[in-house]
Symmetry: C2
Subunit: 331 residues, 2 copies
């Protein structure tokens, strides 16, 4: 592990200048401070420093996801994480990020200069700049719904998407449906890719034909339904599975608009089991992701990573919540 002296030697500056850079003193230039921090991270100084701090802090970086109120997907994840972290006296900051922010700030450096010992990453896209940096980060990092290979400082957590989609297809198949459409979420998302592959796998496992007219990407918003439901109906869909519950609400609305009754005329399935899924008309059959437990487990894993226990991946079981939006296929 590098010392302050090692950093000073490498940069050819004094130990006190390095110390000032690391401690955020105001009497050195911002450029020098950045160079000290970047070099400290590069030389593996990060963990040592953050561990020694009495003020123990973890960070949740969040993007592309609502989390402010209990109705929103990210809320329970953050809640669960905090509930467990507080037991071990960690402070937890939630920092919303953007693609631009990731281009301006280096991940490891940002953690170091703000005194974070590790981070939980929620809602990132596959093409985010920090996704590249996670491949080599030396900071304990838990990725929600993303994966990075071969870095023992990083762990992936999520719900088993393959099993989830297979539960949906199997449920609909047993109700007699043979034309099952899938309105997936956004592109550039690991879970979207996994669920799309799982959809094809499960159709094949049920001896159903793959029809590209029965699937599309819906960007995780209700509004996407109106662009795709007409084509699905045209292609003969008797059931529409959705990439999340918000998309499903859009599908419900679009079906109603077209005079179709759910579930008598067409079955609809969501994904996530947000609170709204119980209150739609009809209440939504959906896949439950246990978000509080996902958050709690994420903390447990992050804590393991800070103790050099290299967990690579943890998946939770999806649960099919059968409500009123699915029924036997119309004869």
């Amino acid at each position: 592990m590098a010392t302050i002296k090692d950093i000073a030697n490498k940069l050819g500056i004094s130990v006190s200048a390095v110390s000032k850079g690391l401690n955020g003193a105001s009497d050195i230039s911002e450029e020098l401070r950045q160079m000290v921090l970047d070099t400290a991270v590069e030389m593996g100084y990060s963990t040592k420093k953050s561990r020694k701090e009495e003020h123990r802090k973890l960070c949740i970086f969040i993007e592309n996801m609502d989390y402010e109120t209990p109705e929103q997907f990210g809320y329970d994840i953050i809640l669960g994480f905090r509930q467990n972290a507080i037991k071990h006296n960690w402070d937890v900051d939630v920092v919303p990020v953007t693609p631009t922010f990731q281009l301006q700030e280096k991940y490891d450096t940002y953690l170091l200069k703000n005194g974070y010992s590790g981070a939980f990453i929620v809602g990132f896209s596959l093409h985010d700049e920090w996704m590249n940096q996670f491949k080599n980060t030396t900071m304990p990092t838990v990725l929600f719904d993303n994966h990075v290979e071969k870095n023992p400082n990083v762990c992936c957590i999520g719900t088993d998407n393959y099993e989830a989609i297979d539960l949906v297809v199997d449920h609909l198949y047993k109700l007699g449906h043979r034309k099952i459409a899938y309105l997936n979420g956004s592109l550039h998302s690991m879970v979207t890719e996994q669920r799309q592959a799982a959809y094809y796998d499960s159709l094949r496992a049920h001896d159903l034909d793959i029809d590209e007219d029965l699937t599309a990407y819906g960007y995780f918003v209700a509004d996407s339904a109106k662009h795709h439901v007409p084509a699905f109906l045209e292609a003969g869909a008797t059931a529409i599975a959705c990439g999340n519950d918000l998309i499903a609400t859009g599908v419900l609305a679009e079906c109603k608009l077209r005079g179709l009754k759910v579930p008598e005329d067409i079955s609809v399935v969501g994904f996530d089991d947000l609170p709204l899924a119980e209150t739609t008309d009809p209440p939504l059959t959906t896949i439950r992701q246990d978000r509080v437990e996902l958050g709690k487990c994420s903390y447990v894993i992050l804590n393991s990573l800070t103790n050099h226990i290299a967990i690579s991946k943890t998946l939770m079981r999806p649960i099919l919540m059968e409500r009123k939006s699915t029924t036997v296929v119309k004869k």
Copy 2:
């Protein structure tokens, strides 16, 4: 949750007879006792009963694996499990099982009648009878190196085999090897299947040809080497990756017997990083599975399952331990 009265009603016998059956009283027949236990399990009585017991017991069922001494693969796994379980005042029994035993005893019933609240399953084959029963078990169950779909009472734990094999192939590729043989472990094993698929995936990812003469199954014992190494050499192998360290010791011996120097003439890689890997001649480059942590995590997960937190899968990172049995390919 079923009560004793429910069980009595279902079987058409008295409550006291059910009670005797559940508590192991000697004045009822073994047949009746078995029927009471099977019915209790079927009706979901198990968890309720075992939770109420003051004497908290967990069971490790082990098969096809040595575990009695620190040199053996299973030893650290059991050690890690016990180390964590003891903190929560669980007693842990280790029960070696056979295929015959699994045909004689139903899994859930065995746990119930012996007062176990859950179990950790180590070393089972894909065709073991209990593997079928795990699909529907109501008992919290953690499977080492095995997987069961869609049962929220069961979780799988292991090392990421895909990443592990890719680390091996990538290491050898970077040393210039293009004819990389793989002597896998036993058939009817989930990890053997995963590693074989990973071997093909990784060859493809490195633009290497797949040559069936360069791979075979070695049953996880050293002796298998002499049956396959000659054919690998015939096929032009410059490196031999192995399904475990024991196989690798056999490969080292077979190479020596044939006048080949390791690593100058041929590179050899193990899997597991057993204590012996440091003491072979030359010391063995291998994949480290952190067995103590695998055991510890297994307990943490089993404890989660008993609290109805449905973790589906946990994988640990494999670590490539570079020692002296691999080097740049001979010109």
